[in-house]
């Protein structure tokens, strides 16, 4: 009994230390941190995002060529991957998540940098955009997923998918082949053609494919793309949002 208690305490302490590690190594956002961040940026990020962070690095043109995406414009552009309302700046944790996990199909994950280095480079990236000095962004409340999905819930999710017009871009079966996509009507803020995500292929979901990540994408939208925020429409009905999330996840299950 005593051993179990000690093990439980030990495990708890270990989990606590792991959970707090990322923030523990987060350096203070000062000139020295930004200078170190610039050094890392110049060797790891500049080639795509450009010397001034405008997304015009020497290798930045080729990912989509004449189509979206181009590397993010840190200096003036909007940010796709946020936990904040549409039109807002991202949280530091949002930037940290993107740097760490990368963007499937577009940007490699930079988890090879130490956590301190990632925070340093984020401090530098924020210094490229004056808007970050204006105020501290506030994240939307992202609740934990409810219990396991039910068949009825997934069916309700299917109806919600249709009700809010998701199929117009993502297609009836989520393949990213909706009419708007096929007609070539979808463009990003640069005027470049953009393809909607293939919801049947989790690896192609750029903002993450967990249930909570999908909830976040629906609520925040992907700024700079045709994907809007649904916070003002479906946002008040958590059950419908989760049913929609589970319906989307059901599209990528293996099929016979």
């Amino acid at each position: 009994m005593r051993i179990r208690i000690l093990l439980a305490i030990g495990a708890g302490l270990a989990m606590l230390s792991i959970a707090s590690f990322a923030n523990a190594v987060k350096p203070e956002d000062n000139q020295a941190t930004r200078e170190k961040g610039k050094q890392i940026y110049d060797r790891a990020c500049l080639l795509c995002h450009g010397a001034d962070g405008k997304g015009d690095g020497p290798a930045g043109w080729f990912i989509g060529r004449y189509e979206s995406p181009r590397p993010r414009d840190f200096a003036g552009g909007s940010y796709k991957f946020r936990s904040t309302p549409s039109g807002e700046l991202p949280m530091d944790q949002d930037l940290f998540r993107t740097v760490t996990q990368g963007i499937p199909g577009n940007m490699p994950p930079y988890s090879g940098l130490s956590e301190e280095e990632r925070w340093q480079v984020i401090a530098y990236i924020k210094s490229l955009n004056k808007a970050f000095k204006g105020g501290k962004p506030v994240a939307l409340l992202l609740p934990n997923p409810p219990g396991p999905p039910s068949d009825a819930g997934i069916e309700n999710g299917r109806k919600t998918y249709i009700k809010y017009g998701c199929q117009k871009c993502h297609g009836d079966n989520g393949y990213g082949d909706g009419k708007e996509a096929l007609d070539g009507n979808l463009k990003d803020t640069y005027g470049l053609m953009i393809s909607p995500g293939d919801l049947t292929e989790r690896a192609s979901l750029k903002n993450g494919s967990s249930a909570q990540a999908l909830y976040r994408s629906i609520m925040t939208g992907l700024d700079g793309t045709p994907m809007p925020s649904y916070a003002d429409t479906i946002g008040g009905n958590d059950k419908d949002v989760w049913d929609l999330v589970y319906y989307i996840l059901s599209l990528s299950q293996e099929r016979p």
Binding site: I40, D42, R43, A44, C45, L46, L47, C48, G50, A51, D52, K54, D56, G57, P58, A59, G60, W61, F62, I63, G64, R65, Y66, E67, G102, P104, G105, N106, M107, P108, P109, Y110, S111, G112, L113, S195, A203, S204
Partner: protein, 483 residues
């Protein structure tokens, strides 16, 4: 002076026979037109029916769950990010994690993970159409030098494994199968030790590698790649040996001399890549960027002597390269490189006397959005002409290659390349040549492309039986798959 196209001496086969005439299907001019039109129609249909998605998944892209185009302007040519990835020993630029990103612990490995280290490339001309000024000239192998259209796919299959095994330790092995030569060979196989001393100070390569991997214009990354040379079969050692068809490799990388032999007496083709640009030499080299991103150095020592493995001469060849880069913003990058390659008894003349065969070269490249322009110029020099060929041998030769690629749509690349070779070597044999090639390549996906290409001999008006002059034009259409 015209090249002798044949040497009717001993019927000893001492060089590989690259001829594919025995399996060739001969068409009339009408059928060539029909085939060409069929290919164009097929290509057009494929354009229309092809999926728009251009996500790519070769080994490194699989490992990092990203896109081929993060590293390439158009495969196989690298963009600035890809060049730094290569220099860093297959680790992301600015990172020394041993490529651990995406890796699993040993106990969690499964067969899918192997795909993060292994890939292959299958490339070849499905159809080749040759046109010559003179059919079957004396001395040429029968059935090779004549106007005809051949089905030839595939020409080359390469299986490669590469990546990192630990922090700052990487490797690459390429097992190639040039169909014309038969068999398989390790084209390149080396280990890298990276970031020695401090980040980007020194990266070490040991093994069989391409010396010219880091200059502005790399040897093994061509949009208009070598189509395979056909050399006369049955040539005795240390005797002039005709070649039926040129391989259309970049002239700046070529041997350039007529009348040089390797140490076994095999005739060295004036048009084949060699020395610093050979694509595979065995030795050690070091490169790094100790002063920042604007400057790169490289020094190396290799067996030389144009031997794939082993070293039959007592000397080693040494080389050094410096490169200056500008890569900041505006979707623009530019670089300029210069190299010196010093040979040491690395070839022979027909009297079997050794020569020190050296090369000095410059290359440059500029990339702006959809346009990629590159060029290389090299001077080959044999410092001391052997007494046995004194007065008969030009000890200097030059080669120039200028190329340009541009995307005309998101998935279609048009390439143009000009080559000029001012040949040296035996005065009685040497023949200079100039070619221009144009290619349209459509990427069905970032890693699957179909192409149509045509090369023209700009000196055809000078005529002559030599392969360098006799080729009128050549048309190829094929597929390039990298998985």
């Amino acid at each position: 002076m015209r090249v002798q196209l044949w040497m009717p001496h001993w019927p000893v086969k001492c060089v590989p026979d690259y001829s594919i005439g025995t399996v060739a299907t001969v068409f009339t001019r009408v059928s060539i037109v029909i085939v060409t039109l069929s290919i164009l129609c097929g290509t057009l249909l494929t354009f229309l029916l092809a999926p728009e998605e251009a996500q790519a998944i070769p080994a490194f892209a699989r490992k990092y769950n990203t896109n081929c185009m993060d590293c390439h302007t158009a495969p196989p040519m690298l963009n600035a990010f890809g060049q730094r990835f290569l220099e860093n020993g297959y680790q992301l630029p600015g990172v020394e994690d041993g490529g651990s990103t995406g890796k699993k612990k040993f106990g969690d490995l499964n067969l899918d993970d192997v795909s993060e280290y292994v890939g292959f490339r299958l490339v070849g001309n499905a159809v080749s159409s040759w046109g010559f000024n003179k059919q079957n000239p004396a001395g040429a192998d029968a059935g090779v030098v004549e106007n005809k259209t051949e089905f030839t796919f595939p020409r080359n299959f390469v299986l490669f494994a590469g990546g990192t095994v630990a922090k700052n330790i990487g490797f690459m092995v390429e097992l190639g199968h040039p169909v014309g030569e038969g068999g398989a060979e390790v084209e390149r196989g080396f280990v890298t030790f990276n970031n020695l001393g401090s980040h980007n100070l020194a990266h070490l390569r040991v093994g069989k590698f391409d010396p010219n991997a880091f200059s502005s214009y790399a040897t093994v990354r061509q949009q208009l790649s070598d189509v395979g040379e056909s050399q006369k079969g049955g040539c005795p050692p240390f005797s002039p040996c005709a070649f039926n068809r040129v391989g259309l490799a970049p002239s700046a990388f070529a041997t350039k001399f007529y009348g040089l032999y390797d140490r076994s007496g095999n005739y060295l083709s004036p048009f084949a890549s060699s020395l610093y640009n050979s694509g595979h030499e065995t030795g050690v080299d070091v490169h790094g960027r100790p002063f920042g991103d604007w400057f790169l150095y490289q020094v190396g020592v290799v067996n030389g002597a144009n031997e794939h493995l082993g070293d039959s001469n007592k000397g080693k060849d040494v080389y050094g390269m410096v490169r200056f880069d500008y890569a900041k913003s505006n979707y623009f990058s530019a670089s300029m490189s210069g190299f010196v390659y010093q040979g040491n008894s690395n070839a022979k003349v027909w009297t079997q006397e050794d020569v020190n065969w050296n090369r000095y070269g410059l290359s440059a490249r500029a990339t702006y959005q959809m346009v990629d322009v590159y060029a290389a110029y090299s001077v080959d020099k044999i410092n001391k002409t052997p007494t046995g060929v004194a007065g008969l041998f030009d000890s200097t030769a030059t080669g120039l290659t200028i190329g340009a690629d541009t995307y005309v749509t998101s998935q279609t690349l048009v390439s143009l390349r000009y080559d000029n070779l001012d040949a040296g070597g035996m005065l009685a044999q040497r023949t200079s040549a100039s070619f221009i090639g144009v290619q349209a390549k459509h990427f069905l996906r970032a890693n699957v492309a179909i192409f149509a290409r045509s090369d023209f001999n700009l000196r055809q008006s000078e005529g002559g039986d030599t392969a360098a002059r006799n080729l009128r034009n050549a048309f190829f259409s094929g597929i390039d798959v990298i998985f």
